[in-house]
Point group: C2
Chain length 255, copies 2
């Protein structure tokens, strides 16, 4: 059975989409079969993987809205063993449409039952909020990967997030665990960066991945070319570090 | 009557909170009377202004929940002419609590009627979403300031945001206009940064502020000390640029 991991943090701009795309690509490169699900109305994972809005006729929206099975909306990418379920802006409406629906927190979980054994990893890119969309992702997952930017405000939101995870574990999904904490946009010359690394390691101990993602221009440029960093500039530090991260996760047999 | 400006962009981590804090402080420094409202459950503006969670007994949550007037939750800061309405994490619940409420989009607008003439500027820090909380801020405002990070994904979300603004103008608030677009985390040596500046200027013309906020370490460090950048390191480029921005806005008589 595949590992289903939500890439989640309600703090904005911490590297959720960048991690979802580059970790998915790295797992596929290492021979795993991967499904990337974009569950954010902003659909940055969709465009970061090279899909153009006009081409996206079916998406995760159709699954949440109940008019398509997940099998119907999965599409191949340019990369071997890497598949995607794109998102569209209409997903914004799901927050309101689901409120009064039966089993509103279970829609994605129920939908994924059909396909979870077809992939080694299913990675879900979440929006920057702790809303019904994010709740659906957490209920459907057996692991969460939390990107934490090496900045002051990043620390503030962590207790809010862990409280939400506890609630989801107790009320909906006892299998949900923290797969790992990923420190992103790390700059070794910057005191604040190092302070955040120490605080996060102090708080989460060995749940923190040893791989630290550096601030790297290629990771910012690759989305404009619709490619994971390793296919835009394979030798870049950004691409190499996500490959190292994939290796660390695969080695430890972690989620 | 004071100018009420929402600092809004559903893209995360673009500099909404940093702009709200530093622009508020700059307007107050220039002699204006300013109210900063933190309408984000993450409450980064609250902590960035030095308030400690335990001290925040009343907040914007009480106004949305209907058990306090805005006058009851305004508090002074350490800085002359600068006042704040703090936020707390409970604000997360407002999204669900308001859904079935009468005039759910008008709660903040109605609440601000009492105090809007007491201030020259009211700046509202919004969460990274286009949800009911953000809708309340837009309905209550006569201007919006849109921070845009000089990164690829920043361009993607702009059409989503302008469509939402059009909807709000037509359905709720005909006075709502774009006060300006602020380019943030600009790095003149980086090609992507310059591409984004050109695209945004091409798209929004003279709505784009001439002041570009550079990527600057002080703007990242100041929140950890609970102070606006100008009171943490007045000579820093970050603090100086927000002062320049305040001057540009005051000069043009813009919102
Ligand atoms: N390690 C890095 N080095 C440099 N730039 C990065 C890095 N990681 C991400 N970025 C850039 O920073 C910005 C924010 O990253 P990203 O969009 O992945 O964050 P997010 O958490 O998904 O944001 P949101 O909360 O809006 O969904 C993007 O423009 C991205 O290209
Ligand atoms: N010009 C700048 N130079 C350097 N760092 C900056 C700058 N502006 C903001 N930052 C830092 O970048 C991070 C994101 O900024 P900020 O939190 O203000 O964005 P936001 O849009 O409010 O995020 P959210 O979407 O989570 O509310 C913060 O850690 C902040 O300190
Ligand atoms: Mg994202
Ligand atoms: Mg913010």
């Amino acid at each position: 059975m595949g590992k289903i991991i939500s890439i989640v943090n309600q703090k904005g701009g911490v590297g959720k989409t960048t991690t979802t795309i580059n970790l998915s690509a790295s797992f596929a490169y290492e021979g795993r079969r991967v499904l990337l699900i974009d569950s954010d109305p902003q659909s940055n994972s969709t465009s970061g993987m090279g899909l153009i809005r006009e081409e996206v006729t079916t998406s995760i929206y159709d699954v949440y809205a109940g008019h398509a099975l997940i099998k119907d909306v999965i599409r191949a990418t340019d990369y071997e063993r890497l598949f995607i379920v794109p998102s569209i802006i209409d997903l914004l409406a799901v927050e309101v449409e689901l409120v009064n629906k039966e089993r509103r927190e279970w829609v994605l979980c129920d939908a994924l039952k059909d396909v979870r054994d077809d992939y080694d990893y299913i990675l879900i890119d979440c929006p920057p909020s702790l809303s019904l969309l994010t709740l659906n992702c957490l209920v459907a997952s057996n692991g969460v990967l939390i990107p934490v930017q090496c900045e002051y405000y990043a620390l503030e939101g962590l207790s809010m997030l862990t409280r939400t995870l506890d609630m989801v574990q107790k009320t909906f999904n006892p299998y949900l665990e923290i797969s790992g904490i990923l420190l992103t946009m790390y700059d070794s010359r910057n005191t604040l960066s190092n302070q955040v690394v120490n605080e996060v390691k102090g708080y989460f101990g060995n749940k923190v991945y040893e791989t630290l993602i550096p601030r790297n221009v290629t990771l910012g440029e690759a989305p404009g070319h619709g490619k994971p960093a390793m296919y835009y500039d394979r030798r870049s530090k950004g691409a190499q570090t996500y490959l190292t991260l994939a290796g660390e996760i695969l080695e430890k047999g972690l989620g």
